[in-house]
Symmetry: C2
Amino acid sequence: MPEPRIPAAQLCRFITAAFERQGLPPGDAATVARLMTEAEVQGSDGHGVIRLVPYSKRIQAGGLNLRPDIKVVKEKAGMALLDGDNGMGHLVMEKATRIAIEKARNCGVAWVGARLSNHAGPASLYARMALAHDMIGMYFAVGNANHLPPWGGLDMLLSTNPIAVAVPAGEEPPVVLDMATTVAAYGKVKAKAQRGEQMPEGWMIDRNGQPLTDPRRADEGFLMPIGGYKGYGLSMIVGLLAGTLNGAAMGSEVIDFNKDQASITNTGQAIVAIDPDAFGDVDEFKARVDKLVRELRGSERMPGVDRIWVPGEQSHARKIANERDGLQLPAALRTQLDAFARELGIPLLQDH
Amino acid sequence: MPEPRIPAAQLCRFITAAFERQGLPPGDAATVARLMTEAEVQGSDGHGVIRLVPYSKRIQAGGLNLRPDIKVVKEKAGMALLDGDNGMGHLVMEKATRIAIEKARNCGVAWVGARLSNHAGPASLYARMALAHDMIGMYFAVGNANHLPPWGGLDMLLSTNPIAVAVPAGEEPPVVLDMATTVAAYGKVKAKAQRGEQMPEGWMIDRNGQPLTDPRRADEGFLMPIGGYKGYGLSMIVGLLAGTLNGAAMGSEVIDFNKDQASITNTGQAIVAIDPDAFGDVDEFKARVDKLVRELRGSERMPGVDRIWVPGEQSHARKIANERDGLQLPAALRTQLDAFARELGIPLLQDH
C-alpha cells in the first residue's frame, strides 16, 4: 500500500516545528520550511525535506548560526553583496532574491551575491522567485562538496556548481533550467547505490580515466563534467562568479558538508534578476516565449519519442499535481522523519 | 616552406582597406578590422579573417547595412537595448560592450542586449573587452544557423548559442571560457570534412539518433548538445536571453547565414559587465583568482596528462606568440585573400 499523500501545508508546519524546536526564531523557521516545502512540491526531492535531518545535524554540531545577522556589506544601484553570517542558506538567498528583484525594478537588471551562506536547496527555487514578478531569474552556486577534478586531473577541487535560469511565459509554463555542471548530480549516484543499480557510462570515471559504473565504488572516482573540458570550464566559472567574486569558499576551501558538520562552509551563491519590461513590453516578451515553447514542443520527433519537453515543464506538472494531491514521501523517509520527530519531542508529521 | 608570418597590424590594414573599398565608413572599417584581427591574434581563427569573404558576400548581396544608425532604444541604469540597424555585428557589440562597462562602473553590474545585429566574431572577444577595465565580461549570442533540434526532436530549431565569460586575474592570465552549447562547434565539423577525417562519436547524431561520424554526411544529422538534454536546455536559455529578450530572431526565425546572404538576420546578442570592485577590493579579488588558477594547475594529474590547463590559458599563450611573431595564415586562405584583393582592386595583404 502506498503511503498516504501529505498536504504541502502539513509538511510545512512539521518542518517549521522541527526548526523552532531547535532554536530557530519562528519567522526564520517558517521561511526555511516554506522554501523546503516548495522544493518538495516542485519535485526537487533531493533538496527538500530529505535535508531536514542533515541540516539539523549541522545545527546540533554548532555548524549553523541560528541567529544570523544577514546584512548587505556592499551595495550599488545594480548589485549587493550579502554576508550571510553563517545562517541557513534559505534565509540568505531568500533575502538576496528579494533585494535583486527590487533593484532590478529600478535598474532593469540586478545581481546579488552572498558569502558566509549555506546550502539553500535546489538552484531553481530562487531563480523561480523572479517569475511572480514577471522577471527572469538566474542563480549560480558553489556546491557544498567537491566531486570534480580539473580536466585531466585527479584532485577533486571543483563541485557540481549548478546554474538555474527561470524565464516567465504567458500561457505556457515558465521555462526553467536547473542543471549541475556535471553529467549527473552526486545525489543521483547515491540514489543508484541505494537501489542497487549500475550507473550508465559517462557519469563517473575512475582515477585512470576509465568509466566507473558501480555506484558503490563512487569514492574511487569522480563525476564527469558535461561536454568534457567545457563542463570543467563552466563549473570553474560558476564557482568564480558565485564563490570567488563574493569572497566565499572555492577550490580547496570548499568543505564537504556531508562529512564535516561543524565547520563554517562559507557557501557562495548569486542571484540575478532581469526585468523584461525594461527591454520592451513584458506581455509581448511572454508571448514570444510561448511561441518558442510551442514551436519546440510541436516540432518533429525522433522515432520512438512520445513528446518533446521544454525545460521546466515536467517540474511544473509535478508542482500542479503535488499542490492538488499532496506530496508522496518514500516510506524510508517517513520513518526517518517520525524517528526525528520523537527525538525532538514534536508531533509526528501525520499529526501536524 | 611555411607561409611567412604576417604582423597583426598589416592584416588589420588589409581588412580595413577591404571594408573601406566596399563602402564602410573609414572609422567603422577600422573598428571591424581591429576586432577581426584580435580574433585572429587570440587564435579564434574560425572567426577571424576567414570571415572576410563571407561578410563581404553579405555586403555585396545587400544583406548588411553599411551606414547603420546603431542606437539605444531602451535604457535603465543597469541595462540598455541596442537596435543594430542591421549593421556589422562587430560595430553593434563593440558599442554594446562600451555601454555595459560604463554602466557597470556606476551600478556594479550592467547588461546590454542587441537586436538587428549580425555575426560579431568569437564570443570571447566582447567578454574579454571587460578585462582591460578590471571587470568580468559575460557574452551570450544566438548562433547564425540552426544545427540542433530540441532533445528527442528532428527539426533544427536551435543554434550552437555560445557563452563566453572572461574573468580578470592578477599575475596569471585571465580565465576565459568560450564555448558553444554543442559538443563540437559546426566549424570543427567543416574542418574535419576538409581534412578528410572522421568525427569522434558524440559530436553528431543522425535522424534515428545513431552516431554520425562521417563529416561529409553532416547534412544528414545534427550536432549533439553538451550533457544531452542539459545542453539543449542551455542552448534554449542562451537563445531566450540573447534573442527573445531583445526581440531578436530565435527558433525558426533564425536564418542560415551560410545559405542566405541577403535577408536581415536580426541577430541577438547580450553582454554583461560585472565590476569586482563593487564587491570588494579588486586586487584582492584578482589575487584570489590567481590562487585558484595555481591550485588547479598545480593539482595531481591523471596518468599520461602533461599539464592541467585553465580555460583561456592556451589562447592567452597564442595571443602572446602571435603578437610577437605575427600571424600564420593557411596557404589556402592567403590565396583566397589575394584573389579577393584583386577582385576589390586593393593591394595584396603582403603589400599593406
